[in-house]
Amino acid sequence: MKLYDLAHSRAGDKGNISTLSLIPYDENDYEKLCLEVTVDKVKTHLKDIVSGEIVRYEMPNIASLLFVCQNALMSGVTTSLAVDTHGKALSYALLEMEL
C-alpha cells in the first residue's frame, strides 16, 4: 500500500524549504500515519530530493501531519535549475512512499 491510498498532500515553498502536508482521507487513519510516517522514514524516502533536516508537526486538531523540509528545492524557487522550481509536484513524491 502506498501513502497515496490513504492520504492526500499539497506542497508549498518558502525559499529553499518545501512544506508537505499529509492529510488522511479518513480521520481515523491519523494515528496510523503518526506511527508509520516517521521523520526517519520520510528522510529515507526523499533522500534524492531533500538534503536538509525534516521536521514533522502533528496537528491532531485537523488530523493532519506537516513535514517541513530544509534544502529541498535546489537553492529555491527563484534560482533553481529544476523543471519544477517551486517543488509543487513534490506532494506526489511523498505519496509514493510504501506503507
Binding site: S21, I23, L81
Partner: protein, 440 residues
C-alpha cells in the same frame, strides 16, 4: 457595529483567472473583494519595469481586471483591496483613476506606499544578515527591496471611505485582516490570530474551492473549468464560514480547507505576519454541508518587532534547450544526446542540469521501476554570467539536429535573466506606510 462581513477573494496570484472575481462581485453579496496578485519574484520583476518606465511597475493585468470589475464594484458598493500596485501603487492608482473616468464612474482610490526600501537598502551601510544563508546583503547586487507591511496603511484607507485600495508588498493575510479589524474594532492578539487564519485560507483564492486539489481517481472535483473563488462570512467573534457562489464549479469541504490551511506553513505553532504571530494548531473545522466549512479557534501572540524584507538581486542568466526522442531506444538516444551536451558545455557554463522529461525530471528522482517510456524529452538548463553564453545552451541543443543522435525533434530554446530573492529583517521603526488619495 456589524456582527458579520463577507469578504471574497477573486485572485490568488498575478496570472489568475478574471471571471471568478466578476462572479463574486456580481452574485456573491460580498462587502469586500480582495485580489492577491503578488509573489516574491513578481515584485522584483515589477521593480525592473518601473526602472524602465516610472509610470509602470504595477501589475500587468491591473488594467484588464479593473476595467471589468470597476462597474460591478460601484454598482454593488463593494470595497476592493488589492496588492496589484506591486512596485508602483501610485501609478496603479492613477491607472484605476483613468479607467474610472473613462467609464464615467465615481470612486475614491487610495494608494498605500512605504513598503519599498530599495533605495535605503541599496545604499545602506548596515550589515544586514541574509535569512536563508550565511551571507550578508552587501554580497548581492540589490535590484529591489520590499518590506512585507501589515494592516496599518489599509486601515487608514478604510477609515477614509476609499473604495479602491491599491497596495504594494503587504503580507497576504493582512489584506483580509484589515477589513475585519476595521469593521469589528479588533484589538486582541487572539482575534488578530483568528483573522489571520481566515486570511491565510482565502489568500490563494481557488486553492480552497477545489483548485490545485483535484485528482480524478481519489479526489474528483466538479466543473474546474468554471471554478468558483471563495468568500468567507466573518463574524465579530473571529469565527467564519468559507463558501463559494452557488452554481460555480469546485467544492469546499474539510479536505480542501485542510490542504490550504497547511499550505506554505513552515511552523504551524508560529505563523509570522507583520500584525500577529498566529497559532494554527488550535484551529478547528466543521463541515456544514452544501460547500460550507466553519472555521473556529486559532489564537495569536504579539507581532514581531521586525519586518521581513524581500530583496531581489541579479542572480544569473539561465540558458535552456529541449529536444525530444520517440520510439525504439528513445531513452538511450536521449541519454547519448545528454552526454554530448554535457561534454560540449562543461567548460562553458557555471552550473548545468540535464533532465530526462518522462523519466525523472519533475521529482528529480524516480520512485518506480516503471516500463520504458515511448517518448522522452531531453532538457538542459545552465547558469551563466551573460545572455550571450546562456544562448549557447539552446544553440548546442539545436545543433543536435545534424550532429547528434538519430530522430531528435521539437527543439525549443530559451534565455532568461534570473532575479533571485533573499530576505532580511528590518526594524519596524524604519518603515512607515503612506497613503495617497485620488478621486474621480
Amino acid at each position: 457595529m456589524k456582527q458579520k462581513i463577507r469578504i471574497g477573494c477573486g485572485a490568488g496570484f498575478s496570472g489568475d483567472r478574471i471571471e471568478p472575481a466578476m462572479i463574486l462581485a456580481e452574485k456573491g453579496n460580498i462587502d469586500y473583494l480582495v485580489l492577491e496578485c503578488l509573489a516574491e519574484r513578481t515584485i522584483a520583476l515589477a521593480q525592473k519595469r518601473k526602472m524602465q518606465d516610472p509610470n509602470k511597475g504595477y501589475d500587468p493585468l491591473l488594467e484588464k481586471r479593473m476595467s471589468k470589475l470597476l462597474p460591478l464594484l460601484v454598482k454593488n458598493n463593494i470595497r476592493l483591496i488589492t496588492n496589484m500596485g506591486a512596485a508602483n501603487p501610485i501609478a496603479g492608482a492613477k491607472k484605476v483613476l483613468e479607467i474610472s473616468q473613462k467609464l464615467g464612474l465615481k470612486v475614491k482610490i487610495a494608494a498605500i506606499t512605504g513598503d519599498d526600501l530599495s533605495d535605503e537598502l541599496r545604499h545602506s551601510n548596515h550589515s544586514y544578515k541574509i535569512l536563508e544563508n550565511e551571507k550578508f546583503l552587501s554580497d548581492y547586487e540589490v535590484l529591489s527591496a520590499n518590506a512585507y507591511i501589515g494592516v496599518d496603511g489599509i486601515l487608514e484607507a478604510l477609515q477614509s471611505e476609499a473604495q479602491i485600495i491599491i497596495t504594494g508588498r503587504v503580507a497576504d493575510p493582512s489584506l483580509f485582516l484589515a477589513p475585519m479589524i476595521h469593521e469589528f474594532a479588533w484589538k486582541s492578539n487572539d482575534l488578530l490570530g483568528k483573522g489571520t487564519v481566515i486570511g491565510h485560507l482565502l489568500e490563494c483564492a481557488g486553492q480552497i474551492t477545489g483548485g490545485y486539489f483535484a485528482d480524478p481517481i481519489k479526489k474528483p472535483v466538479p466543473d474546474l473549468a468554471h471554478l468558483g473563488h471563495p468568500f468567507a462570512d466573518v463574524f465579530s467573534d473571529g469565527t467564519a464560514i468559507i463558501s463559494k457562489v452557488d452554481g460555480t464549479g469546485g467544492q469546499v469541504n474539510l479536505a480542501t480547507v485542510k490542504e490550504q490551511l497547511l499550505y506554505e506553513v513552515i511552523n504551524p505553532n508560529e505563523y509570522f505576519t507583520p500584525d500577529v504571530i498566529a497559532d494554527f494548531t488550535t484551529v478547528y473545522l466543521k463541515d456544514l454541508g452544501n460547500n460550507q466549512v466553519q472555521i473556529f479557534g486559532g489564537t495569536g501572540k504579539e507581532k514581531p518587532t521586525t519586518y521581513k524584507v524581500s530583496v531581489g538581486y541579479k542572480a544569473f542568466y539561465l540558458g535552456e534547450g529541449e529536444i525530444s526522442y520517440a520510439g525504439q531506444n528513445a531513452v538511450e538516444r536521449a541519454k547519448l544526446a545528454g552526454e554530448i551536451i554535457e561534454e560540449r558545455l562543461k567548460n562553458v557554463v557555471n552550473e548545468i542540469k540535464i533532465d530526462y522529461v518522462g523519466l525523472q525530471s519533475v521529482h528529480r528522482t524516480n520512485f518506480e521501476n516503471q516500463s520504458v517510456p515511448y517518448e522522452i524529452r531531453l532538457r538542459v538548463a545552465a547558469k551563466t554570467d551573460s545572455a550571450e553564453v546562456a544562448a549557447i545552451v539552446g544553440e548546442e541543443v539545436e545543433a543536435l539536429y545534424t550532429n547528434g543522435p538519430a530522430g531528435g525533434g521539437g527543439v525549443r530554446k530559451y534565455v532568461n535573466e534570473v532575479i533571485g530573492i533573499v530576505s532580511v529583517l528590518v526594524d519596524r521603526q524604519n518603515v512607515s506606510p503612506e497613503i495617497t488619495f485620488f478621486e474621480s
